[in-house]
């Protein structure tokens, strides 16, 4: 539509032929043009067309480039518009439960892996020299009795390395209220024991590969709380895949892995 606008269309002191018709036409054209400034060319909408853009950016409820996005019903932006490092934090982890290849987490990203009646859970998380992670492991197995008392391992690179891991723990066990220390050599990172809830910090420098963990150990007539560390006594082998968690019995639960650096 071609729009035009005439400033001061009426000239009552300067008569000319067909003046009334000409100037009323100009006035009508002005009204038409002014109406176009409103939504649906309807001044009764009370909404001016250009008022739905700010600084030239229009508004859209669907995220689009170079548009403004309103907050959702919870007065929040949806996760999909946040940068990956923020969006995939604990509130919205990346689900790697069905992953078939290693995924490389960015700093801040969290991976979630659930498992049911599993003795072996591949994490499918790639890692490199200089990275650092926090891992939370929690199980739904009965804590009370009947568990196989044996280590839970993180098998780095999905490969065991015979007797290359030094493990040390201090623990307090009940019944008995007994504090104790324990050390052993393993072929993979020992991250806990039997039935557990565990927090594990993973350091991956090729020259210093280790974990620090604290966890409970249950599954028998009692429990203990442990602080432990396990060091991979090898300063040359690259740790490229966080690996696979193995359990001494069929276990169910989930793992969260967050890359911190």
């Amino acid at each position: 539509m071609s729009l035009s606008y005439t400033v001061s269309p009426f000239h009552p002191t300067n008569p000319y032929p067909n003046q009334v018709t000409t100037e009323l036409d100009l006035a009508n054209q002005n009204f038409t043009t002014l109406a176009q400034a409103f939504v649906n060319a309807d001044p009764t909408s009370l909404t001016v067309v250009n008022s739905v853009s700010v600084g030239g950016y229009t508004v859209s409820s669907t995220p689009q480039p170079n548009t403004l996005l309103p907050l959702n019903a919870n007065a929040q932006f949806p996760y999909s518009v946040l940068p990956p490092g923020i969006a995939n934090g604990y509130a919205n982890p990346i689900n790697l439960t069905s992953a078939t290849a290693d995924y490389s987490l960015s700093v801040g990203q969290v991976a979630y892996i659930s498992f049911t009646n599993a003795t072996s859970v591949p994490l499918n998380i790639a890692t490199t020299n200089g990275t650092y992670y926090e891992m939370n492991l929690t199980l739904s197995n009965s804590f009370n009795t009947g568990a196989v008392g044996a280590p839970i391992y993180l098998i780095q690179n999905n490969t065991t390395y015979s007797n290359a891991f030094l493990f040390v723990e201090g623990y307090f066990i009940v019944p008995g209220n007994t504090p104790a220390m324990y050390s052993a050599t393993y072929s993979a990172f020992r991250i806990s024991w039997a039935i557990t809830s565990a927090n594990i910090y993973i350091t991956n420098f090729t020259t210093n590969k280790n974990i620090i963990s604290f966890y409970n150990e249950t599954g028998y007539n009692g429990m203990d709380i442990s602080i432990a560390s396990c060091v991979w006594e090898d300063t040359t082998t690259s740790w490229t895949s966080l690996g696979t968690i193995t359990f001494p019995q069929a276990s169910s639960g989930f793992v969260l892995v967050r890359r911190l650096a």
């Binding site: 072996s120 098998i155 490969t159 007797n163 019944p175 007994t178 072929s187």
Partner: protein
Amino acid sequence: MIVYAYLNSNSTLCCALTESAIPPGVSYTSFTVNSPDDVVYVSGTIRTKTQAELLQEAQQKALQQLSQSTMSYIYQYYPDWKQRSDMSDLTNGEAYLTYAGLNTTQVRQTITQQILSGASYTQALSTLNQTFNSNTNPTIGYWLEQLLNVGYRQDFVFKVKQQYYSISQQISSATALPLPSYTISVPPPNIP
């Protein structure tokens, strides 16, 4: 499970859980085992553990676990603080009874005889008082009761240890896997 065993550049035995985890160009051997720990490198050969090795390892683990379970069982019904309290009661009680003119060796004999004969706690306490406290001295009665309690609790520990010994013998003498299962079944001391 299948594992893929090889030696790395440090001559460390490695067991990959998947073929894709094997470094390129490495010569490997695959084994079907229960755990990567069942593969060993001995005298220049990568092989699975023999049945005898697996049995010996399982026996060691089972004995460690039995020891832990036994200790936990004892502590569950006879906690550490109670054991220390009993030792104190034993010393103080026998000191008082000696002071009161009783023969503590005879008291011990009577307590042991009552427990070993299977007498109920009430019956044993009655016998003790009839034998050593005919005048119903309340302090003597108190210490006789404490010593009897200690006797029943120590008998509980003794019976658990007996059962531990019996089970450990069964585990050690096993000639094949699986090892015998067991339950520690000594009833806790029945003291009011």
